[in-house]
Symmetry: C2
Subunit: 104 residues, 2 copies
Amino acid sequence: MDQNSRQELEDKGWKIGSVAEFLELSPEETMLVEIKLALSRSLKERRQALMTQAKLADKIHSSQPRVAKAENGDESVSIELLIRAILATGASPQEIGQVIASVG
Amino acid sequence: MDQNSRQELEDKGWKIGSVAEFLELSPEETMLVEIKLALSRSLKERRQALMTQAKLADKIHSSQPRVAKAENGDESVSIELLIRAILATGASPQEIGQVIASVG
DNA sequence: CTAGAATATATCAGATATGATATAAGTCCA
DNA sequence: TGGACTTATATCATATCTGATATATTCTAG
């Protein structure tokens, strides 16, 4: 975990108040966060190539603001919603598996 | 989706009241459910080889009953908890990606 | 520039997932 | 056969996630 990753996580609001607190994330907790961020990035890439946030929101019976949060790695977004959204871009389970497997 | 899968899903309580209702699951919704079930099965296999449900519950700061639900594909269990649990068995993101990629 | 479209941020009430607890049911072997 | 251990089921108050809405900001074409 380098300084850039740390900054990225803090920027996304991963309730990190101090370096010490950050370092207390276990490897498993860190992996979980990285999985979420990888899914966020994948979602944004795929969605941008295909449609607007509002259009995707409709497809998954959600709202444009929630899609925005999903794409920006907001901590309030569940992995479940991320996967629902990615599936709605036409991704296969294989592709989703790839994204997760690509994490550290 | 064959008859066995359907029966499996109904057994797990995936709020399916009738065949018609079941068939109204979109391909994306079906994939999501199958991803969850695949993760459940993987969790159970891995955990059984290593430790007791109570031990795993401690590791993820959860409870034995919740681990039981996770392993039995209970609808109330989030993908997030499933992944947290699988990571706690020592699985890598690669292995989790494999499980998801193995779905349909 | 600038209007319209897309995206981001803020707020919130309701829905869902959570860990805890109690306890039932199953498993195993002394 | 029964007692320890493990897993399953039921209930619940609380925490977290949800979609909706309002609105601010950013982007893009003209």
